[in-house]
């Protein structure tokens, strides 16, 4: 049933969805001020790319794309752990998460 459903949906739809998510991520990264939202936008871009990976893996019956996705998720998880720790540290130091106001290396 699943496979039926998947076969009915054309490739371009997946890619368009992936592109739309990626653009959302880019725009969010560019326009949002809150550091956490910016961080989430990056995750969104990563997952948009993941979506196109699995799409092509399924389309071409190649497992490499799926393996790649695991790597990306793993790196993203590590990045999330480190990134959130940095965000907490920044918030403690500056009492703000507005990216415009934490543009200096020195305190």
């Amino acid at each position: 049933m699943n496979s039926l459903l998947l076969q009915d949906i054309p490739l371009s739809w997946y890619l368009l969805l992936s592109a739309a998510l990626f653009c959302l991520g880019v725009v969010g990264f560019l326009i949002k001020r809150n550091l956490i939202t910016v961080f989430m936008s990056i995750e969104l871009m990563l997952n948009a790319v993941n979506l196109s990976f699995v799409t092509f893996a399924h389309e071409w019956h190649a497992v490499k794309g799926q393996i790649f996705v695991f790597f990306v998720m793993m790196v993203a998880a590590a990045e999330a752990a480190v990134g959130l720790a940095i965000i907490i540290a920044v918030f403690r130091a500056r009492a703000t998460l507005a990216v415009d106001r934490i543009d200096l290396m020195k305190l």
């Binding site: 880019v26 990264f29 560019l30 326009i31 990216v99 415009d100 543009d103």
Partner: protein, 652 residues
């Protein structure tokens, strides 16, 4: 051919020891105790003098194959057919010169210890003095013109440094520059002469040039004359002859021992030495040789007339040096090279003596150099008075002092040449009269009469290190000529050729000698009358002939003439054409233009560097999008369709 390191005379040590002294005192002298500086400064020339004596002994005892050549095992310039080595040549000519340079040089070093004792820059002074000895011995020992040129330039440098020794004084700094720049003109002649030698003979080695000239009788006049004239220009610069003599009087701004060593005894005679060294070239060009004689005679007379009215004791001696150098040129010009070298040697003795004695006087009365403010010093400075008397008698040409023999030899050679030589002889004779007069004038004004200023009453004692050199030089000024021109030219003959034609007889020689001595005596009598018997008469004479007096007292306005015709136009050209147009407008403008473009572009581009992270990210995204657009869109197809439309329209 002997290599540097083999068992030989070790000529290479003669220049290198003073050079080591220069390095030690120049680099470490300020941190060394004064006694150590003195030791280093004195040991270097003394050791060099010892080596010269050893070499001289070997040469005179006949153990040596003359010319004795030492060559550095490593070549200097090897370019195609051109080979130039560091080679040092010892023959009779360079031996005489080396004895004068290192011997008189050492004596003056000793004198300097006393003279410079209270001065700042004691170590600097001695390092320069050693540097001078290094270059001067290189100049004398050089076996080829290029190595000689290295020494030639080097002594110019040392001279510049020592004239400007009191560089805080504006006049001293300017005098140093003047000496250096005027010498540059002469050096240009030397350089062009070397180029022509290379082009025509393919070598710069003196002995090879002489051989090639001797092989072919076709080398006569023409290009040889041009080369000789170029070398003569170089010699007139270094030896302060007309028309390039103007730097030497100003060079008296340096310390007095420097005037004695460099600007009287050794460096200024380098031009005479160079002509003697290249005498074969001059022998092949009678015209150039005649010019040397005329330049020498004219300079001798010209400088002597200026010396008559100078009031600065050192300037009197400076003009006298120029005049005596003119004698040496006159000697070279009548092909009496040995007589010229003879006079070079005796002049080194008595002129160094006179300068050092003048230094002793200046030292004793607290830096006063004006003859008009001296007088009556014979009681206070008895030794200086005695040695100055010897020096004056020697330069005036009284027998049996040194100057008598050498000056007589030159005058006789000029007369014996006959024809125009008689005119040259007469000019030389008049110069001898003037020389005798102005030297006795100096003698009377300095030592006799009554003290004419406060300074002349007070005086400091003179240390032994200053008196001993004076006494030694006085002895040399007495005995230096006793060897006589006959044996001396026989000794030099292998280097500079035999003595010039013996047209005259012994009787003629005796008559000429008598005339010369009479003239010297006459000069003394006139000076005695004017400066002892009737001291008010010189002023009356000057008042009676105001035009002549002013002309001579102002040194014939030569400095002013050069200033107006050479210096001013050059300065104006440098300031306006080179300074304003080329430098400020063209080069400066170009630099400003480039800077302006960079500033303008930077002002625009710096807007990208907003410091805002998100703007950077936005540009990154825009760039990625542009790359994507470039890759994804099939541009060739788009262009093809566009051009198809275009041509389609055009086709209809």
């Amino acid at each position: 051919m002997t290599s540097f390191l083999s068992n030989g005379l070790h000529l290479w040590l003669i220049p290198l020891l003073p050079f080591a002294g220069f390095l030690i005192n120049g680099l470490l002298g300020r941190r060394m105790p004064k006694a150590l500086v003195t030791t280093v400064a004195l040991l270097a020339p003394l050791a060099a003098f010892g080596i010269v004596l050893n070499a001289g002994w070997a040469l005179c005892s006949g153990q040596l194959q003359v010319p004795y050549i030492e060559t550095c095992p490593v070549g200097w310039i090897n370019a195609g057919a051109l080979h130039i080595d560091f080679s040092f040549v010892l023959d009779q000519l360079s031996l005489v010169m080396l004895l004068v340079v290192t011997g008189v040089g050492f004596i003056i070093h000793v004198y300097s210890v006393g003279y410079m004792n209270d001065e700042d820059g004691y170590a600097r002074y001695f390092s320069y003095l050693n540097l001078f000895l290094f270059f001067m011995t290189v100049l004398v020992l050089a076996g080829n013109a290029l190595l000689m040129f290295v020494g030639w330039e080097g002594v110019g440098l040392a001279s510049y440094l020592l004239i400007g020794f009191y560089f805080q004084k504006n006049s001293a700094a300017n005098a140093g520059k003047k000496a250096f720049i005027v010498n540059r003109i002469g050096d240009l002649g030397f350089l062009i002469g070397m180029f022509l030698l290379l082009a025509n003979f393919g070598t710069l080695t003196f002995s090879e040039i002489a051989t090639k000239l001797g092989q072919d009788a076709g080398w006569q006049g023409g290009v040889v004359t041009v080369i000789a004239f170029c070398l003569l220009l170089g010699a007139t610069g270094k030896s302060a002859q007309l028309p390039l003599y103007i730097w030497l009087p100003d060079a008296m701004e340096g310390p007095t021992p420097v005037s004695a060593l460099i600007h009287a005894a050794t460096m200024v005679t380098a031009g005479v030495y160079m002509i003697a060294r290249n005498h074969v070239l001059f022998d092949h060009s009678p015209f150039a040789l005649g010019t040397v004689a005329v330049v020498g005679a004219a300079t001798a007379l010209f400088a002597a007339t200026i010396g008559l009215v100078q009031n600065d004791i050192k300037r009197v001696l400076a003009y006298s040096t120029i005049s005596q150098l003119g004698y040496m040129f006159l000697g070279c010009g009548v092909a009496a090279y040995s007589a010229a070298i003879f006079h070079l040697m005796t002049h080194a003795f008595f002129k160094a003596l006179l300068f050092l004695a003048a230094g002793s006087v200046i030292h004793a009365i607290g830096g006063e150099q004006d003859l008009r403010k001296m007088g009556g010093l014979w009681k206070k400075l008895p030794v200086t008075f005695a040695v100055t008397t010897v020096g004056v008698l020697a330069i005036a040409g009284f027998p049996p002092f040194a100057g008598f023999f050498s000056k007589d030899a030159i005058l006789y050679a000029a007369f014996a040449q006959g024809g125009s030589g008689r005119i040259l002889w007469f000019v030389g004779l008049v110069t001898a009269l003037l020389t005798s007069f102005y030297m006795f004038r100096l003698w009377y004004l300095t030592f006799l009469g009554k003290p004419r200023s406060e300074a002349a009453h007070h005086h400091h004692s003179t240390p032994w290190s200053m008196l001993a050199p004076l006494v030694i030089l006085a002895l040399l000024s007495i005995c230096g000529g006793w060897i006589g021109i006959g044996p001396f030219s026989a000794f030099l003959a292998p280097s500079v050729g035999p003595r010039a034609s013996e047209a005259g007889s012994a009787q003629l020689e005796l008559i000429l000698t008598g005339v010369a001595v009479f003239v010297a005596f006459l000069g003394w009598l006139i000076a005695d009358r004017l400066y002892r018997q009737k001291p008010e008469q010189p002023a009356e004479l000057a008042a009676a002939l105001p035009g002549t007096y002013n002309l001579v007292a102002n040194k014939y306005y030569v400095d002013e003439f050069y200033g107006a015709t050479v210096v001013k136009p050059l300065l104006a050209g440098s300031k306006y054409l080179l300074g304003w147009v080329v430098d400020s407008a063209i080069l400066g403008g170009a630099a400003w233009l480039l800077a302006g473009i960079a500033t303008f572009a930077g002002a625009i581009l710096q807007r990208w560097q907003s410091g805002n992270i998100r703007s950077y990210a936005a540009w990154l995204a825009a760039g990625a999008a542009a790359v994507l657009l470039f890759v994804v869109v099939p541009w060739s197809a788009v262009l093809a369709s566009l051009s198809a439309i275009h041509f389609g329209v055009a086709g209809h």
